[in-house]
Amino acid sequence: MHISEGVLSGQVLSAGAVIAVTGTAMGLKKIDYDQIVHVAILASAFFVASLIHINIGPAGVHLILNGILGLLLGFAAIPAILTALLLQSIFFQYGGLTALGVNVVIMAAPAVLVHYLFLPFLGRSSKLTFWAGFFAGLFSILFSCLLLGFALWFTDKHFFETSLAIIITYIPIMIIEGIITGFCVSFLLKVYPEIIPKKP
């Protein structure tokens, strides 16, 4: 989920950059030197997971999975997402430099939010785990869409209908991210519970 270059106004771009830098600094502070490799390689996994291609009927979409990254990393997800987005722009030119800050906020803020909202429910029972994962996946995309909409709306009030259209097209993706995140979290809890952090 990206906003392309050249769309947003100066105020929105700088607000995004400032929030992203602050968030990244906070995230980096929470990573100590023993965890930094873990965060880095999970960022690689997040990057690769975003290449996974899923069918929805005749169309296809790429996974986003910022919800899972948020659940696994909390605040550390911010620098991890910044890393992944920067590498994406270097390799594929999705987005460039000026919108990077805003894009980090769009992807990372929901990730951190979801961490605090849903992590406490993981591992209580297998059903609860799945649904906590489901809503973590769904909400992270929903929040991302809302942030994207706000960014456009703050740039120019005329973007209102455009924002609405984007949010509506993302509804199927929210559901699919929910399903995938639900199964994925159940999988992790069964196979490798150490990867799930202690309750916040």
């Binding site: 996994a45 990057f47 030119q93 460039g96 000026t98 455009t162 995140t181 196979v191």
Partner: protein
């Protein structure tokens, strides 16, 4: 997948110090992003083309690289003129196309391509090691640089792992469809990627400890600063100043 196609060239730009290039790309991109006049935006676009020329990049490859943006722009051209409110210039039943929408589309198209070209000519022409080096000289936090380099290093490894996992699934008759079994399988594949990433991180961390890692990251310096970097940055500043002045006093030059 990750082929740094432009990183290994031999041009004026390739020889520049990464630090100078990073400074240049930041100020040029933001200046272009903030520009609000279509005519000036076109001038920025011309400057970006000059940079592509200076870096001696293959035009076809550059075009291929920025192709994803065209899909986005296409969507924009379909969506914006009909949803953007403003003065209606064309009406087709309930479809109303606004002038503001069209102008907006033009601006966004030019600006986004320009910024991507700046990025391609100045940043995509370094390999990641040099990028890390440049960021280091610009006092970016060591942790952040390390995160970037390390993450880059293992993307190819993890991507290979993913490809092989998907392959194995396909060999066992898996056909991706729109159903729960498919989504569950992809969830398992993604989950496995995270598990393996985490296990690998443990081993890599251990390997670093074994090599005497003591919470300090070193960057090898390979670029020496010479005069060309300075001249380059001066050139960038002059161009930029000219464009900004032009935009401020646009009325005098373009008469609107």
């Amino acid at each position: 997948m990750i082929e740094e196609k432009f990183a290994f060239g031999n041009s004026f730009i390739h020889r520049l110090d990464p630090k100078a290039r990073i400074i240049a790309v930041i100020i040029l991109s933001f200046a272009a992003a903030l520009c609000d006049n279509l005519n000036i935006a076109i001038l920025y676009f011309i400057v970006s083309i000059v940079f592509i020329g200076l870096a001696k990049l293959n035009v076809k490859d550059v075009f291929k690289r920025i192709k994803p943006v065209f899909w986005f722009l296409l969507m924009l051209w379909i969506l914006l003129p009909i949803t953007f409110e403003g003065e209606i210039i064309y009406k087709f039943y309930w479809l109303e196309i606004s002038t503001e929408g069209i102008i907006m589309c033009c601006k966004i198209t030019i600006k986004s391509i320009t910024i991507l070209l700046f990025f391609t000519s100045l940043v995509a022409t370094m390999n990641i090691a040099s990028l890390g080096n440049g960021l280091h000289k610009l006092y970016v936090s060591d942790k952040m640089i390390f995160l970037l380099l390390m993450s880059y290093r293992y993307i190819a490894v993890i991507e290979d792992e993913y490809k092989r996992l998907l392959r194995a699934a396909k060999f066992r008759g898996f056909k991706p469809k729109t159903n729960v079994h498919s989504y569950k399988t992809f969830a398992y594949l993604a989950g496995m990627l995270f598990v393996r990433a985490s296990l690998r991180a443990q081993r890599v961390h251990q390997a670093m400890l074994c090599r005497g890692f003591n919470k300090k990251f070193y960057t090898l310096d390979v670029y020496e600063s010479d005069r060309s970097n300075f001249i380059f940055l001066i050139g960038v500043f002059i161009t930029l100043a000219t464009l900004v002045v032009l935009e401020l006093y646009q009325g005098l030059f373009f008469g609107n």
